[in-house]
Symmetry: C2
Subunit: 449 residues, 2 copies
C-alpha cells in the first residue's frame, strides 16, 4: 500500500511519524494531509529512506537540488560530490537529472548515497539511450519509456517527473499561442518532438493508467511535470501553460482515485506580479495538490545570478502557498553547475523558503529568527555563527573582516548601535527581566480545506 | 533655487532633462513629479554631478551603495576602489558612511570621484569627532552638529540622512514598546544616547527649520532617516517604527513648504508579509514622498547572504512602490564589506529593482528581458553575455563550464530543449516572420495622485 492508501485507512506509518517529528507537529496532522492529497511523502517501498520528507500544506517549505551528469561533464565523482554538498547545505530532496555518462549507473550510485527522497525524469534515460542507439528521440517506443519507468521504480526512485500534460491539446494551444522561447523543458521537448514526429498522442497521457499501476505498486510519488512551462517572462501564464495545468489537475484527481501520491510542477520564468496568481491557480485547478515550483525566476537578464532571481520568486511563491522549491544555481542558462554552485543554490532556496515560512506562520520558523536576533543583540558571535543558515560562510566572513574589539564587528567598530544604546536603554540581561512582547505568530499549520 | 522650487515655477532644469533621457520619458513628467514632491533629484548646487538621477514614482527603481571606512578598516584607497566598483556595477547613488580614518578627507576624495548623487549621514562625522575629543556623544552640542551639516552641504553632498524623527515622543514609544534589538541605526543610536543623556529633545527636530534653510540654500535633498527602524523581524512594524514614520510624514510636509526636496527612509528587517503594508503606510503618511528602503531583509538567519535576503525584500518593496533600494552586502551583520562584497551587493539590488520594474510596468523594463530571451532562443551566446546584468560574470561562468558544441551550453549539451524543438516548432527566423504576441505592458509612469 502507498502512504496515501495507508493514510486513508488511518494507518500511521514510520514516515509520517518521522516527518511529524521534523515539523514539530502531531503525526495525525501529517496523516490527515496525506489522506487528503494535500501532503505527499515520497518514499519508494523498495528503498530505505532514512530521512523521508513530507511536502505540502502547512509544512515547512522544502528544497530540492538538481544534480546529474551531462554529455560535456559525465563525471560520476563530481555528481557524488554535489550530492554530499547538497545534503550538507540542507537540501530536502535531490533529483538526478543525468543525461551524460552511464545514466543508470550514476543513478544507482546517487541512490545509494542519498538518505532523502530521490527524484528522476525517466524520459531522460529513455531518450538518451534511443538517441544513442537509433539516432532520434522520435524512434522511442512507448514500451521503451515504460520499461525505464518501471526499472527506476524497482530501483527505489521516490518521485518521478512525468510530463503527462504535454498532450495534443496543450501542444496545439502552444502552437496557436506563439511564444518567445517555445519549449524549455528537456522532457517536454523530447515529448513534443516525439508527438509531432510520430503524429501521435503522448504515451504518458494515453497510458496514464499504466503509470498509476507502477506508481501504486512501488509507491512512487508522481511529480506531474510542466513540459510547457514558460522559459521567459514574456511567455509566463500563457494559454499553453494554463492548458497544461488544467490537464494536470485532472490527472491529480485520477492519481488520488488510484491511491497514488501526486504533486504538480510549476514555472519557471514568471514576473513578480504573476507569481501569487500562478500559485492560486495551481491550488484551485489541482485541488490542493502540493506545488513544486522550478524557481520561479523573476527576470531573464541575470545569468550568473539565477540563484538570486529564483530566491526572489521562490520566496514569493512559497508565501503564496507553493510547498516545494526546486533550487536554481548561478550556472543556470550558462552551463552545468559546479559543486560550489550547488551549495549556493541550496542555501539561496532555503533562505527563500524560510522567509516564506515566517510569513506564513509555519510552526517554529519565526523562533529561529528571534534566537538569532537575541544573539545579535547580546553580541554573542559564536551563537550567531552557530545559528546561521550557513555557519561556515558566516564564520569565514566574520574572520576575514575581523574587528579589533571582539565584542563588535568591523563595520561599526566601537560605534556599534546596539552596544552604545545599552547604557541608556538597558542591556539584554535587563531586557530579559522585562521581556519585550514577541510576536505571537508562532502559528499552527494551515487548516485543512 | 532648488529643483523643487524650479519645478513649481515650471523651470525645466538640465538635471530634469538628463533624468528624462535616462528614463526614456518626457522631461515634463519629471518636472511634474518633482513639483509634486513625488520625485526628487538630489543635486547639490555646489557640486557638478555629471550623472544626476531622478528618484520616485513611475521611474526605474534606483540603487544606492553604501561605502565608507570604519575604525577597523580606515583605508581610503579601499573605499575609492569600492566607489569604482559600485559605479561599474551600476549603482545609481553612493553614500559615504565613513566613521574611521579622516572622515572629512575621505568624503572629499569620494566626492571628487563620484559622478552620481552622493549621500552622507552628517551625525557620523560630528559624533566621531566629539567622541575622539571629549569622550562621549552626549557631549555633542547642537552647534557641533549643525556646523557639520553646513560644511558638508557647502562641500557638495547631494543628500543627507537626518534622523529628525527620533524625538522624545517616538523614543518614549520605543521604551514602552519593548524590543528584541532596540536601536540598530548608528545615527539613531547616537541621538537616543544624546537625548537620554542630556534629557533634551533631538536638535534635528527642534531646529528643523535651520536644516531646511541649509538644505534650501544648497539644494540638499533630505533623506529623513528611520533611526528607530526594526533590526529584527520581531521588531518590524511596531509602534516605535510607525510613530517615527508619522513624524517623518509631518516633516516631509514642512520640507515641501520650504521648497526643500525630501525622501523618507524605511526598514530594515521586515517579514515578507509585512512589506507591502509598510510601503503603503509610508506612501500615505508621507504624502507620496519617495521611499528609500534599507533592504528590507526578510529573515535574520542568513548572515553571509544578506545580499540575497535583501534582494527578496527589495524586490517586493519596489513592486509595492518603494523607489530607491539601499543595497545590503554579504558582509552585513558580520563586518565592513570588501570591494567584491560591494559588487555582489549592487548587482543583487539591481536584480531586485529590475524584477520590480517589470512587475510595475516601468517603461522599457520588460523589453530588456525580451531581448535576452530572444538571444537565448537563438542561442546567440555573445548577445546573451552582452545583455547580462553582469556581463563579466555571465561570460566567466559560461567559459568555466564550456560545452563541446558552442551552439549549446554544457547543462543539456546536445539535448538542448530549445534547439531540439526547432525542427518541429520552427526556428527563431521562422518565428520572426510570425512574431509571438509579446506582452503589451510597456507602461506609462504612474499617474500623478
Amino acid at each position: 500500500m502507498t502512504q496515501l492508501e495507508k493514510a486513508r485507512r488511518g494507518v500511521m506509518t514510520e514516515e509520517m511519524r518521522f516527518a511529524a517529528a521534523a515539523e514539530c507537529c502531531e503525526a495525525q496532522t501529517i496523516l490527515d494531509g496525506v489522506a487528503a492529497g494535500r501532503i505527499v511523502i515520497p518514499s519508494n517501498v523498495n528503498g530505505e529512506l532514512t530521512e523521508p520528507r513530507a511536502i505540502g500544506a502547512g509544512l515547512k517549505t522544502k528544497v530540492n537540488a538538481n544534480i546529474g551528469a551531462s554529455q560535456d561533464y559525465p563525471d560520476v565523482d563530481e555528481e557524488l560530490a554535489k550530492l554530499t554538498t547538497a545534503l550538507e547545505a540542507g537540501a530536502d530532496a535531490v533529483m538526478d537529472l543525468s543525461t551524460g555518462g552511464d545514466v543508470a549507473a550514476i543513478r544507482r550510485e546517487i541512490r545509494a548515497g542519498c538518505p532523502v527522497p530521490l527524484g528522476t525524469v525517466p524520459i531522460y534515460e529513455a531518450a538518451v539511450r534511443v538517441i544513442a542507439e537509433r539516432g532520434s528521440v522520435v524512434d522511442l517506443t512507448a514500451d521503451d519509456l515504460f520499461s525505464v519507468i518501471e526499472s527506476q521504480a524497482r530501483e527505489g526512485v521516490d518521485f518521478m517527473t512525468l510530463h503527462c500534460g504535454v498532450t495534443r491539446e496543450s501542444v496545439a494551444r502552444l502552437q496557436k499561442q506563439g511564444r518567445l522561447t517555445d519549449v524549455v523543458s528537456r522532457g517536454g521537448a523530447f515529448l513534443v518532438c516525439w508527438m509531432l514526429g510520430n503524429e501521435s498522442e503522448n504515451p504518458l497521457y494515453t497510458r496514464y493508467d499504466d503509470i498509476l499501476e507502477i506508481a501504486r505498486e512501488h509507491d512512487v510519488t508522481l511529480s506531474l511535470g510542466d513540459g510547457l512551462r514558460p522559459g521567459s517572462l514574456a511567455d509566463a501564464t500563457d494559454r499553453a501553460q494554463v492548458q497544461e495545468l488544467i490537464i494536470l489537475g485532472e490527472l491529480v484527481k485520477r492519481a488520488r482515485a488510484a491511491g497514488v501520491q501526486a504533486m504538480v510542477e510549476g514555472p519557471g520564468h514568471v514576473p513578480l506580479d504573476q507569481i501569487a496568481a500562478n500559485v492560486m491557480l495551481q491550488k484551485r485547478l489541482c485541488e490542493g495538490a502540493p506545488f513544486y515550483v522550478l524557481g520561479p525566476i523573476v527576470t531573464d537578464v541575470a545569468p550568473g545570478y539565477d540563484h538570486i532571481t529564483s530566491a526572489i520568486g521562490g520566496a514569493l511563491a512559497a508565501m503564496a502557498g507553493a510547498d516545494f522549491l526546486c533550487y536554481v544555481t548561478p550556472s543556470e542558462h550558462l552551463g552545468l553547475p559546479t559543486v560550489e554552485d550547488v551549495r549556493e543554490g541550496v542555501i539561496a532556496a532555503r533562505i527563500a523558503g524560510h522567509a516564506a515560512d515566517v510569513a506564513k506562520g509555519v510552526r517554529g520558523a519565526m523562533d529561529w529568527d528571534c534566537r538569532m536576533s537575541s544573539a545579535r543583540k547580546a553580541r554573542d558571535w559564536a551563537k550567531q555563527v552557530e545559528l546561521a543558515i550557513d555557519p561556515v560562510r558566516a564564520g569565514a566572513v566574520r574572520e576575514k573582516r575581523s574587528a579589533g574589539d571582539e565584542d563588535v564587528c568591523s563595520m561599526c567598530s566601537s560605534f556599534c548601535a546596539m552596544k552604545i544604546v545599552e547604557e541608556y536603554l538597558g542591556s539584554p540581561a535587563q531586557a530579559a527581566s522585562a521581556p519585550p512582547s514577541l510576536p505571537t505568530k508562532v502559528a499552527q499549520p494551515k487548516q485543512a480545506e
